[in-house]
Symmetry: C2
Subunit: 63 residues, 2 copies
């Protein structure tokens, strides 16, 4: 499976934000994250970096 | 393996851009894409959407 751990970069720190994420897409000017279990989170951020082999996604908070 | 097929959205069309991509990261104000075999491409775009279960990444050309 290719679900990812999503981290959020905020004020120079990188913190875990959501696990087992399968979809990230823009919706209503935010990013919608959906995990394997159908849980949804919205965040005002953009996608900065993908590390697919490590199953990691880095988001960057919008200013 | 979790390599992805990367598509580029440009003028309303979505076209295949690069296969077997394992890393996408910002570098020199562009995005650097690296595939499984170490091939590298730069593109002036941002990451729009991730569909990890489908192994697809959608990029959006910068205006």
């Amino acid at each position: 499976m290719c679900e990812a751990r999503v981290f959020l970069e905020k004020e120079g720190k990188i913190l875990p934000f959501m696990d087992n994420v399968v979809t990230i897409k823009p919706e209503n000017e935010k990013l919608l994250l959906i995990d394997l279990f159908g849980n949804r989170k919205y965040i005002d951020a953009s996608i900065k970096e993908l590390k697919l082999l490590e199953h990691e996604v880095i988001l960057e908070e919008k200013e």
